[in-house]
Symmetry: C2
Subunit: 490 residues, 2 copies
C-alpha cells in the first residue's frame, strides 16, 4: 500500500487532516464548520463517554437534559458571559418555512417570526441556572451535582476536525453548593477527574493548573485546566473546570435558606470536556503509518488476520483463528477476525495499522504447526512470535504494556520539550520550534497581551504554587513564587 | 402524606401531568415547548438507551453523528418530505449578536446574516443522504447500517411533557441497501426489534402493523409502526420504521455500481424511537399512587427503608440493612438504602411509591428477631414477609414476576378494550370511551379523512394480512382481507 499520509515532519497540519480522513474518523459536512463523526470516530467517543460517565457517577453526579435553545435575554444576564459568547452563536429568528411564490422550494415565512430570538446553546450555564432557581430553596436542596451530555454550537470562523468545529459534542457538569469552600472543592475534584482520565485512559500526560484572568471562562472566577502537549510541541487545552462563585446565582437570582435561616446566593461550578479529546488522542500518539490508539479506548483492541494459499490452508487457519477469536471475546477483549477473502493480508496489515488497532495477530499454516501466532504491536511496530498456550494472557498483559508505553513515550516527549526560561528572549528565539516554556510570572493583563503579540504564545496555565523557590517575572522582573507554562496552542 | 396526584379516573390528562412533575421526571422550561428532563427521568432514558443500543449493535448497526443543522435547500429536495416538516421547524438566519446601541443587552447583528438559512434538524434523512452520496460508490460499500442518538426539533404548537415537545431526544437509524428486498427486510427487522424492546423491556404490549398512505412518514413508501394502548384507551404510536424506497437516493443522487457493473439508485430505510417512550411507560403502568416502573428500566429496583425508635434499634437495623444492600448490589440489583433520619418511614414509603420503585424492603427490630424482612410490591401493593435466608433469590424472582405481571395486566387491559366492529356507527357510539376498534377497511384517502372528521379517530395501522377471512369495509362496503385498528391517538 502506498503511503496515504503526508509525513508529519513535512506538514504536521496536513498529516493530521489526512489521518482523520483516511482513518475514517470524521469529515467536513455540507454545513459550514460542522463535522460528520463517522462510525470509527464515534466508537472512540463512545468509549470516552462510558469511562467518564462512570467516573462522574462514582463522584456522586447524575445526568439530566436541558433545552438546546436559550432565550437571547438569558445570555445578557451575566455580563462577562455574554461578552464571551454573543459573537459566535447561531440565532433562531423564525419557526416556519413556506412554499416560495415561484414554486421553486421553500422560504422563511415572515409571519413566523419569534418574539424573542433563541440562541443555540454555546454552553448551558444560563438556561441551567434559570432552571435551578426553581429547584433550590433551602440548604437541604444542595448540593446539586448534575451533568449533561449534549451538543453545543459556537460559530467558529476557522475550524478543524475535532479540534475546533461549529457544532461539537461534549459533557457539561453544572453544580450548585451552599458554600464557597464546597464549590471550590468540587471544581478542583473535577479537574482531578479529568487529569486521571486523560492520563490513565487516554494515555495523555497533562499539566494541571489554573488560567490567568485573560484566559478564564466567560463568567468564571477561576478556571482550572489540563494542558497536553501535541507532537508539534503545541499545547491543547483538554478539559476545564470553573469555579463560578455566585455570578450565575446573582444573575438568575438563585438564593437558598441556609441552616441559620438566612438567605444566601448559591455557589456554582461548571466543567466540561468535548470531542476535542479525540483530536488530542490522535495528535499525541499517532505516527506516519496512521493512528496509534490507547488500548483502553480502541474500538478494536486486537485484529486477527489469516494467511493462507490453498483452500485446505484456509480452512485450517480459519478454525485456528476462530478459536482465538472466541477465547479473546470471552476474556472481554474487543477483537475482530478479518477473514474476508476480498483483500490480501498486506492490505489488511496496512489498513489496521492506519486505524491504530493496538495488537495484530497473524496466523499462517506454519504458525499452526509450531503452535504459535505472530504478534505485531502497533505502538512499537515490533513483531514476534507467541506460543498459542500463553497467548491470551500475553495479549492481556501486552494491552496494558502498550497503554503504559504510549503514556511514557508522550511523557518523555513532553519532558524533552519543556524548557525553564528566565528571560523573554529565550521564548522569542525558541517558540517557533514548539514546546512548553516554564517561567516565573507576575505580569499584568497588559503584559500578557504583549507577550502574546510578540510571540504568538499564550500562558496556558499557572502552576500550582510551589512552597519555597522564587524567581523574577520574565516580563515585569518582579520577584514571585508564581510559575506559568507558556506555549503556542490549538 | 396527602394525595399528590389528581386521580386518573377524574382527569386522566391532569393525572399524567401531576405524575411527571411530582415524580421528578421532567418539567417545562422557559423555552416554549422545550422540556427539562430531570435526573430521575433521564435515568430511565439511560436505561432505554443502553438496552436499545445493545440490540442495534447485535443486529449489525454502528453509531455515528451528523450535523444538527440542515441547509434549507436540502429540505426541498424530497417533495413530500419538505411538505411534512417545513411548517414546524426552527430556522437559523444569523450567526452573531452584538451590543444594542442603548446598552441594554444584545441584539441580532444584521450584518451577520447567513446566505442560506439553516434548519435545526427535525429528522436527518436529508443531511445523511447528502453525506452517503460520498460514501457509496459500489455494492461493496453496502449495506450501510448506521444509527444516531440525537436531539431533534419540531415546532409543535401544543406540547405535552415527553409525548410531544418541540425538542426531544431520540435515535434515528438510517440504512442504505443494494436491493429493494434487503431494504424491506431491514425495515421489518427494526420494527421487530422495537416490538421486542417495548414488550420485553418496557412491558408494554404493542400492535405491529403498517400505516395507511395518509399516516406515512413524509418521504416513505411504507411506514411500519408499533401502537400501544394507554390506560385511557387512546393509542400511542411508540416507534416507526420506514421503507423509503429510492426516494432519498434520487433526491440526493446516490447511485452505486452493482455487481454487474450497472449504476443503480440506493435503497433506504429509517427508523426511530424517542423520549416519548417514557410517556408510554408512565401511561401504561402507573396508578393513583404514582409511577409503576418495569424493573428492567427502573433506575432503582429495590429501596430499603429502616424502621426504629431508639438509637440501639437504629444501629441494629442499619447493620442488618447494610448487609442486605451489599448483597443485592453484589447480585447486580440496583438498590438504595434510605437511612436518612430527616424523614419518617411513612413519608419514605409514599415517596418511593410515587417514584415507582418496584420492590420496597422495610426492616424493623422485630424483623431482625424473626430473621425476615417486610416486602411491598409496587405493582400489586401487596405486602408480605420473606425470610432473610432466601431474600436475595426471592427478590430476583420477584423482579421478574413484576416485569411479567405488569405486561400481562397491560395486555389484559388492551384485550378488554379492543372491539371488533362491522359498522361505522359502532365506532361513533363507542369511541368516546376509548379503545381499539378492529374493522375491515378498503376505503380511499378521502374515506379516511371522513372517518377522522366524524369520529376524531384515526387508522393507527393496517394489521398484517390474515390468510382466509374477508369482510366488508366499514365505509365503502367493499369485501376485503385488510383489517385496521382505529383509535383516538396521542
Amino acid at each position: 500500500m502506498a503511503k496515504v499520509l503526508t509525513p508529519k515532519e513535512e506538514d504536521y497540519s496536513q498529516w493530521y487532516n489526512d489521518l482523520v480522513l483516511k482513518a475514517d474518523l470524521a469529515e467536513n459536512s455540507s454545513v459550514r464548520g460542522c463535522m460528520v463523526i463517522k462510525p470509527y470516530g464515534y466508537a472512540i467517543w463512545e468509549k470516552i463517554q462510558q469511562t467518564l460517565d462512570r467516573m462522574f457517577k462514582e463522584t456522586g453526579h447524575v445526568n439530566a437534559y436541558f433545552p438546546l435553545f436559550i432565550p437571547k435575554s438569558f445570555l445578557s444576564k451575566e455580563a462577562s458571559h455574554v461578552e464571551g459568547f454573543a459573537k459566535e452563536c447561531a440565532v433562531i429568528t423564525h419557526y416556519r418555512l413556506k412554499n416560495s411564490s415561484d414554486g421553486k422550494g421553500v422560504i422563511v415565512d415572515p409571519e413566523a417570526k419569534l418574539e424573542e430570538e433563541l440562541i443555540v446553546r454555546p454552553t448551558s450555564e444560563t438556561i441551567i441556572w434559570n432552571t435551578y432557581k426553581n429547584w433550590i430553596q433551602s440548604y437541604r436542596d444542595l448540593p446539586l451535582l448534575i451533568n449533561q451530555w449534549a451538543n453545543v454550537v459556537r460559530w467558529e470562523m476557522r475550524t478543524r476536525l475535532f479540534l475546533r468545529t461549529a457544532e461539537f459534542l461534549w459533557q457539561e457538569g453544572h453544580t450548585a453548593h451552599a458554600t464557597k469552600e464546597e464549590a471550590m472543592e468540587e471544581a478542583l475534584k473535577m479537574i482531578d477527574v479529568y487529569k486521571t482520565f486523560a492520563e490513565n485512559t487516554l494515555a495523555i500526560p497533562v499539566i494541571q493548573g489554573r488560567k490567568t484572568e485573560n484566559e478564564r471562562f466567560a463568567g468564571a472566577l477561576e478556571t482550572y485546566t489540563i494542558e497536553a502537549m501535541m507532537q508539534d510541541g503545541k499545547a491543547l487545552q483538554s478539559g476545564t473546570s470553573h469555579f463560578l462563585g455566585q455570578n450565575f446565582a446573582k444573575a438568575f437570582d438563585v438564593k437558598f435558606l441556609n441552616s441559620k435561616g438566612e438567605l444566601e446566593y448559591v455557589w456554582a461550578t461548571s466543567w466540561g470536556v468535548s470531542t476535542r479529546l479525540i483530536g488530542a488522542v490522535i495528535m499525541t500518539h499517532s505516527d506516519n503509518h496512521g493512528l496509534v490508539l490507547p488500548p483502553q479506548i480502541a474500538p478494536l483492541q486486537v485484529i486477527i488476520i489469516p494467511i493462507y494459499k490453498s483452500e485446505t490452508e484456509r480452512q485450517q487457519v480459519l478454525d485456528y483463528g476462530k478459536d482465538i477469536l472466541h477465547e479473546l471475546k470471552h476474556h472481554g477483549i474487543s477483537v475482530k477476525f478479518d477473514d474476508r477473502d476480498t483483500h490480501k493480508p498486506g492490505w489488511k496489515f496496512a489498513e489496521y495499522e492506519l486505524k491504530g488497532v493496538p495488537i495484530r495477530v497473524a496466523i499462517g499454516p506454519k504458525d499452526i504447526e509450531n503452535k504459535q501466532v505472530e504478534i505485531a504491536r502497533r505502538d512499537t511496530l515490533d513483531k514476534f512470535y507467541v506460543s498459542r498456550d500463553t497467548l491470551i494472557e500475553q495479549i492481556k498483559s501486552l494491552l496494558n504494556e502498550i497503554q503504559q508505553n504510549i503514556f511514557k513515550k508522550a511523557l518523555n516527549f513532553r519532558n524533552n520539550n519543556t524548557y525553564e526560561i528566565t528571560h523573554i528572549d529565550e521564548l522569542k528565539s525558541n517558540i517557533e520550534n514548539g514546546g512548553f516554556f516554564v517561567a516565573y510570572w507576575e505580569g499584568t493583563k497588559e503584559d500578557e497581551k504583549l507577550l502574546n503579540e510578540q510571540t504568538k504564545a499564550t500562558i496556558r496555565c499557572i502552576l500550582p504554587e510551589e512552597s519555597s523557590s522564587t524567581g523574577k517575572c520574565i516580563i515585569s522582573g518582579k520577584e514571585t513564587k508564581k510559575r506559568v507554562i507558556i506555549a503556542k496552542a490549538y
